[in-house]
Subunit: 419 residues, 2 copies
């Protein structure tokens, strides 16, 4: 039954993807405008559906943070709809030809950017993802299969209904956007094995979901969104200016993946700097988990003892690991051992140390004298963000529209045979 359901879901998505692949940019813009209009027209219905979800979440005793993520009121919905205009304004990556060359046998060869085909996205509480991902997929000529969290099902159903009706209005197949509306969890593992129809899976969720996808998927998966992020304060750092960057990286939005998890401090400046830093951090309500040297240098503070386990933790809260390191090599070693490959930074005024760190640290984003919080599609000027990849194939770091494309090789000959 669920096997059959997924097969038809996949088949319909693949079929729809053929209709999307060669739309012109103007046609795709018209489609996205129609979706914005349809969502606006259905706003009352969508907000009412979301109220049901929120009421159920409250009754189920979900945390306030969860409920806040779930909430889609008129104001938020208007923001989501306004974002569609931004996407319409982005350049269309599809159809561009590049790396063209004339081969010795007279054949003209090039690569042409084309849609991936069908994208599967598995996500959790936020209903805005339903719209964001559908819009980015359609902008790049891809069909999409969405699997949201069960706690947002009513909201997602209302959103998908409005999106699909706009697609049909534009004379395109509704199945360009499909929502799995059955909370059965075996559908997730089933989706991960639908390699005959689905070209890429993007899991947007925590560590458990990422592992499930890595282990179960027979489809290429873009892992990401897990950031154990480090910032190294070199002995040549401007200590006064460093504190602002660290506070920004840790405190501005502690629940996101590019928030800082561990500060590494060169031992030559640790005695001078740690008391200043600790004062600034605790004033912001940050809880410290430090190595032995840290505890010794901060006798006035209550410091939890750091362990390999704590250094392997993505805090997602106002907790920060601190470690005193002998030198830049020790900092790099620590990062290599504990980083999730998301974002790391060095603070220094020493050009040799800066260059060494940027060369040797191989995470998706590496910063000199900047906060790890910048790893974000919007901040990077990509105009949109599908996800943040922490793997190395296909796309790395913030994924913009380009990450939803592939290329095909086109060869034009004159009845040319290989000699």
């Amino acid at each position: 039954m669920s096997e059959q359901y997924l097969q038809s879901l996949g088949q319909q998505a693949k079929q729809a993807s053929f209709a999307l692949a060669n739309l012109s940019s103007a046609q795709k813009s018209a489609l996205l405008s129609a979706i914005a209009a349809s969502l606006t027209a259905a706003a009352d219905e969508i907000v009412a559906a979301n109220e049901q979800d929120v009421a159920a979440a409250k009754a189920a005793g979900l945390t306030q943070a969860m409920i806040d993520r779930l909430l889609l009121n008129h104001q938020r919905l208007a923001g989501v709809i306004a974002d569609i205009d931004n996407v319409i304004g982005l350049p269309d990556p599809i159809g561009r030809e590049f790396d063209s060359r004339l081969l010795d046998n007279g054949m003209r060869l090039c690569r042409r950017a084309v849609p991936l085909g069908v994208i599967g996205v598995i996500y959790e509480a936020r209903p805005n993802v339903t719209v964001d991902i559908a819009v980015l997929a359609l902008k790049t000529g891809n069909a999409v299969i969405l699997r949201g969290g069960k706690e947002t099902l009513n909201s997602n159903l209302a959103l998908a209904k409005a999106i699909r009706s706009a697609i049909v209005e534009c004379g395109l197949p509704a199945d360009a956007v499909q929502l799995i509306d059955n909370p059965d969890r075996t559908l997730v593992t089933g989706l991960l094995k639908l390699d005959q129809y689905v070209d890429m899976i993007v899991p947007r969720g925590g560590d458990k979901l990422q592992r499930l996808c890595a282990e179960q998927a027979t489809i290429p998966v873009i892992l990401g969104g897990i950031g154990i992020c480090h910032l190294y304060v070199d002995k040549a750092a401007d200590l006064t200016r460093s504190t602002d960057v660290i506070i920004n990286a840790k405190v501005q939005r502690p629940t996101v993946c590019n928030a800082l998890d561990t500060v590494l401090v060169h031992e030559a400046v640790a005695a001078e700097y740690l008391p200043l830093l600790a004062a600034a951090l605790t004033a912001q309500g940050v809880k410290l988990v430090g190595c032995e040297a840290t505890s010794k240098l901060l006798p006035a503070y209550e410091i939890e003892a750091a362990t390999d386990e704590s250094f392997s933790t993505e805090w997602l809260s106002l907790t920060l690991g601190i470690k005193v390191v002998a030198d830049i090599e020790a900092a790099i070693s620590h990062i290599r051992q504990f980083s999730s490959g998301h974002s790391e930074a060095i603070l220094t005024d020493d050009i040799a140390a800066a260059s060494h760190f940027l060369n040797e640290v191989n995470s998706a984003a590496v910063y000199l004298n900047a906060s790890t919080r910048f790893t974000d599609g919007g901040q990077f000027g990509l105009g949109a963000e599908v996800a943040v990849s922490t793997q190395k194939l296909h796309a790395r770091g913030p994924m913009g529209l380009e990450a939803l494309t592939t290329y095909k090789w086109l060869g034009v000959g004159d009845y040319t045979a290989r000699s």
Copy 2:
């Protein structure tokens, strides 16, 4: 035991990859030259080891084709070594910075091409792959874990020994190239799950190996090398010139993945063309598997009845499927249903048909008026070929050196915090 072995293999490879990542192009060229010299010096030893493998293969009753793939005599080894010079001459893709931009907050952002890290390659009979892959991996600053077929183990051990001694001679860690020398098959599935250390798996082998990797790997895998390739003869094709292209695609080297598997012929020209084509093909010893219409139009030939199963077969031999189609849409539908996404071609003099086919057929390589046999790194001018990808993420079609790289984002600020 095997778990521990794989862990240390992975750890050593990862450690070695750090030493390789920032080598200059000159250092990498010197390393490849040293490998060429070391293989030359060890030629007698390598050929003797290969003779053992060949003798064992003969004793085990392997086919002549298998034994030929296995054979590494002095002449072939010299060819393999000469190819290293070609790779030395290719541009080094590592270190290039691109997409640089100045953000509004003053941060300078760019992407820098960097090695993937550790690449795992699983392959079958040909011992030359051991050298080819090691050289391409090192050229791009990657460490590599090799798992060859058990029938070439002696050859591979001798080759790896020579390669590793050259690496050490250059002051680099031998574990930049490691060969799994234990024929235990659980090591393959173990390797596929070594995601802590291995960044990409490239399976170079048949359908079974590809499926195993898709199903078992927790590491990103590049599937490929399976080609169910189609050529569509449009009603506006130059029929006289078409035959040469079809013969080339089918006959030149029938055992490779870009060889032709199915010819689709527009019904308007089928009655005229099929007898000509069949005569030319059978003169070359090609066996025909045709649809009903084909059989009717070729009463003089013995034609096996085509089925969905035969149309799903990668022949790898002098067998060819033939189907008469109502029009170009039927040809495209057939390709969408049966293609493995490798290479397809249209023969036509009609510009609208040509453009429609190139737009609508979404395989790794799509040709107008050319043989499918061109899908090859050498033919495409990539200078080298790691594998031919039939998936859409990361790399598509012939994979050159670029496919062994990723990028990291580098952000340079002035103690910049996110506002």
